[in-house]
Symmetry: C2
Subunit: 356 residues, 2 copies
């Protein structure tokens, strides 16, 4: 297989973790006989510095000619005082919208060897294997009007039925391939958009008799994600609730540094990035944890290229390196060995290479 | 002191836990020489059944002639299929709005003897003592337009500057009386209402040089509330974020059944209710945990009547009964004794009575 990938290293630790992930990707290519052509472009703060634009046209063009995008992270104190249009995260919001990447997939799965780092009791966190499906291009993030008024401000949550349908279908498909359970999250006791959401789920579920569906209120899910995260399989929700709940869920397993994400649309195109941020405070020191970005490459292989075996091989290798007791500084622990970003990546590569 | 209180038992376990709390209130009255006049009225499902209205005029009238309101809980499967206007929670939303109860105070404090029930590791949960201040009468809960459109639906988040100012002031005042720290939560990188919110906090903080202020994004707080809840003192946020975060925070200490709340406005008037719901599945069995409602009475004494010593006495008694190893069924544990709602309330009353 031959694929073109646009790589957007971004800011802070972005370039470091992306470099690691690219090394792993190339090893997978070698081992499984695929060719990955990489093109590099800027986004976020780096793009503001070079082009005075968090998402330059050159970047969009290159992405348009690619099969997938790999992103590091954006943001940092340097740009914190910029006006809204010149903030790094604007690049992120715009690339999502431009490419209509409406489905944000955020898997949360416990690595047994990392559970000590979880704020939750081991027995609560240990069997967690869930996927949050967040609508990413609608709702209050993009709804109009959004503005200051004479004596205050307003934002608008807008959803069309079609927007809800496509994300809900996406979630049903995922649930069918996973554990067969779907939890739809809304605030139907208060919001009109939530009542629409619930109706669409009720309609769609007729097409998925093999999927067990429950509706749950966002406040109640915010509790249950912590008290009983093992209950969940696929969780689908709108953009703002998804932002909050997916970050909340990211702490369950104790290692934000190992969580990948995919932002996809109907076809195979998608953007893959770690859940963690740009961590400017540790940038350039070679200590960042590349696991989340490496696992994001695995998601790319699976969701954009349909390469399931290759994806599984990366996941196996990452897991094995943890089980062998190798960690980056963020996960440093008694009885483990603390490695640099590159050393840890070498371990993963060795795992993949020696298992020919 | 002489005070009039409207009691709204509501649905499910509401009447049981309210009965317990009223007994404790009367004992406090006897011991500290206050007279509490109680009037009973309906709200929620009970009011729908009797008056076809989740908040009947009689109830509003009685509340208007009172100094405070004590509420049990509303809701249950019986009314789940009702149209929106005839749903129990509509009574709750309307009473908040009618009485302009704009500040919802949700303290979360660890009881050491309950920590085993927490999903969090003991060391994460044990020193938690925070208060979420949720704006309760604005934002997307009440903003217009809120409706179905030709091809979808919309909701509107609206805040006037004055609405933000009063809740933010309230939170600053509380922070000053507590640990001197205030975390303001918003989504200023996306929402106009959040940018307004952040500006108001920046303005107001000049009047509270003794309070340390931080701004934090809602997604980030959703993580940190679980990874490091001990970091927080007072947390202030808008209505929808507050709904989610306060429920999330309620699981930290492992005992939703002991968390009280207050919904207040500028003067001393307020509504006090447990955080938990109506738990219809255990209603009428005499096993409900009355602690949250009893502690809500303590909040009433403190916030509406300024009776700090009396409030502290209730808190001390509740804590002592837990420390003595007495629990209701929801908190049943090895080495503890499981009591009925009434037996457990007797223990609290004994604590208060024998300590003359
Ligand atoms: C940076 C911000 C705009 C963004 C969002 O809210 O979507 C981030 O929190 C995320 O979840 O990717
Ligand atoms: C019942 C519901 C409308 C209500 C809310 O969302 O405010 C409840 O969740 C609460 O927090 O008191």
């Amino acid at each position: 297989m031959e694929k073109k990938i646009t790589v957007l290293p971004g800011d802070g630790i972005g370039p470091e973790v992306v470099a690691s992930a690219v090394r792993v990707l190339q090893v997978i290519g070698k081992r499984f006989n695929h060719t990955f052509h990489l093109g590099y472009a800027t986004i976020g703060g780096a793009a503001i510095d070079q082009h005075n634009n968090p998402l330059p046209d050159e970047t969009i063009d290159m992405c348009e000619n690619s099969d997938a995008i790999l992103l590091g992270a954006v943001g940092g104190p340097k740009w914190d005082q910029n006006p809204p249009e010149l903030r790094p995260e604007k690049g992120l919001l715009r690339i999502r919208k431009h490419f209509d990447l409406f489905a944000n997939l955020r898997p949360v799965k416990a690595f047994p060897s990392l559970l000590d780092a979880s704020p939750l009791k081991r027995e609560v966190a240990e069997n967690v294997d869930l996927m949050i499906v967040r609508e990413l291009t609608g709702g209050v993030y993009f709804g109009e009007p959004r503005m200051r008024t004479e004596n205050g401000a307003i934002d608008t949550t807008v959803y069309s039925k079609a927007e809800v349908e496509r994300i809900v279908e996406n979630a049903f498909e995922l649930a069918r391939l996973r554990g067969g359970k779907l939890c739809s999250v809304d605030k139907a006791n208060v919001l009109e958009t939530s009542r629409l959401w619930r109706e669409v789920v009720e309609e769609k579920k007729k097409d998925y008799p093999d999927v067990r569906v429950e509706h749950n209120l966002v406040d109640s899910v915010a509790m249950k994600l912590i008290t009983n995260p093992g209950h969940y399989d696929v969780v689908v929700t709108e953009n703002m609730f998804g932002d909050i709940l997916s970050d909340e869920a990211s702490v369950i397993t104790g290692s934000l540094g190992v969580l990948p994400s995919a932002s996809i649309r109907g076809d195979n195109f998608g953007l893959y990035e770690p859940v963690h941020g740009s961590a400017p405070e540790i940038a350039g020191q070679g200590v960042a944890n590349p696991a989340a970005t490496i696992l994001s490459v695995a998601m790319m292989l699976q969701y954009s290229f349909g390469l399931k075996e290759e994806a599984a091989e990366i996941e196996r290798a990452v897991s094995a390196v943890f089980d062998d007791g190798y960690f980056t500084a963020d996960l440093a622990r008694d009885g483990g060995r603390t490695l640099s970003t590159n050393e840890w990546t070498d371990k993963v590569i060795n795992e993949i290479d020696t298992s020919f």
